[in-house]
């Protein structure tokens, strides 16, 4: 059932997914990282690069399933992307709360003055 060509294709798909993940992770890290520093030098990026290098042959570290390390990478990517997008939406839709005086002015009223 699993012919050598089938395996080859599955492997190629895995490699492509890996490349895509790597690209997206790098993009996210570039966006959120310090612009002064080169991304390559940061310890975080080196860790990610090492992980990719180490697990080239197989990502099955524990008995928990295939592509385990990939899924961790995808989860981290999901977290970074979601944080960025929720921040963007917050910026897009942010409003300032009206002060009491402004709210009163909406209906044509003025705040009462207090005599000290």
């Amino acid at each position: 059932m699993f012919t050598p060509s089938h395996n080859k294709m599955a492997n190629q798909q895995k490699v492509n997914l890996g490349r895509l993940l790597y690209k997206r992770l790098s993009r996210e890290m570039k966006i959120t990282a310090n612009p002064k520093e080169k991304l390559y030098d940061t310890p975080v990026f080196q860790y990610i690069a090492n992980q990719f290098r180490e697990h080239q042959v197989t990502t099955q570290k524990l008995c928990k399933g295939q592509n385990e390390v990939m899924m961790v990478g995808q989860t981290y990517l999901c977290m970074l992307e979601s944080l960025r997008k929720s921040e963007e939406l917050a910026q897009m839709y942010k409003t300032t709360e009206r002060s009491i005086e402004q709210s009163a002015n909406l209906v044509g009223l003025k705040l009462p003055t207090v005599d000290h």
Binding site: N67, V72, M92
Partner: protein, 307 residues
């Protein structure tokens, strides 16, 4: 001769003060009781306010450091903001048992722009919860809190109308339920009534054992994930690498998804909800993975003294 010596000393002191105009911080020496021993720690009260998002006047805290890095110290990983060690809100030293977790936390701190937004730093918050245990929860408390969600698990509750939604639930939730049953060798049925389904004893036992097998750190992360997804089964699917976070969040919000398809999506409400949920659950999943025994270097039990 006392007088010239004193003036000499005074002169030197003022000269050095001019050269180094650093304010002199008053430091306390505080006794911390940890597990029966007394530890002494030097604590800077001026610095303590830095570990909250607001200073004393309630304004937002500006980013007060340039770079966050990690150091390894006796098997634990600490985060340094410039030269200062990161601390928890109660002043404890911030330590995590896993290197990738420390790196990710340092990245969280590095990602802050001008002000510090603690609500976006989920991994830091989770670590602080484990280290400080602000609600004095024991392991039993947390496990009980998680198990509480078993009988109200989202994917067990099916609504019978509309018919299309019933089909959608079967299509999306049944495969996960099937995987759960076969993977853990338990029986669990979905229900269409308002009453919670009956949980067989064996199921409860198996799940309790599974949740209890997590160490203190992973347990806190797991509980946070279950709380957000409102489902143990979905969180287990994530930690067992059976579902992606995006898919699990989608399944947890299935009804909302169905309704927005019919009535339309409101970006500033629904999308914000999706992204916030995703970021929280992803943080929880990463926390569980990185703190699990095989990934972490040490296995300090913070709850061992409480029942």
């Amino acid at each position: 001769m006392a007088a010239p010596m004193n003036t000499c000393k005074h002169l030197i002191r003022t000269l050095t003060r001019i050269r180094k105009p650093k304010p002199i911080n008053v430091c306390f020496i505080r006794k911390y009781k940890t597990g029966g021993e007394f530890l002494y720690s030097v604590q800077d009260p001026l610095l303590n306010s830095h570990w909250l998002s607001q200073n004393k006047t309630g304004q937002e805290l500006k980013k007060f450091y340039k770079n966050a890095s990690i150091v390894q110290n006796q098997g634990w990983f600490e985060v340094n903001l410039d030269q200062r060690k990161l601390r928890t809100p109660t002043g404890n030293l911030f330590q995590v048992p896993s290197e990738p977790l420390a790196l990710a936390i340092a990245t969280e701190w590095n990602s802050q722009k001008e002000t510090i937004k603690r609500q976006a730093m989920h991994l830091t918050t989770l670590s602080n919860t484990v280290l400080d245990n602000p609600m004095q929860r024991s392991r039993g408390d947390i496990v009980r809190g998680v198990l509480h969600f078993l009988e109200t698990d989202t994917i067990l509750y099916r609504s019978t109308e509309p018919q299309e939604f019933l089909e959608l639930q079967k299509q999306e939730w049944d495969p996960v339920l099937k995987w759960f049953r076969s993977s853990y060798q338990v029986e669990l049925d979905s229900t269409t009534s308002l009453m919670p389904p009956e949980i067989p004893e064996n199921t409860e036992e198996v799940i309790t054992r599974k949740v209890n097998s997590l160490n203190d750190w992973a347990l806190v992360g797991f509980q946070y994930g279950v709380e957000n997804l409102k489902s143990i089964i979905l969180m287990l699917a994530i930690t067992d690498k059976r579902l992606t976070v995006e898919k699990a969040v989608q399944l947890a919000r299935l009804e909302t998804l169905y309704q927005t398809k019919i009535w339309g999506n409101v970006q500033w409400h629904h999308d914000v909800d999706i992204y916030q949920l995703q970021s929280r659950v992803a943080a929880a999943a990463l926390f569980v993975h990185w703190c699990s025994n095989d990934m972490a270097t040490t296995h300090k039990t913070t709850y061992s003294n409480q029942t």
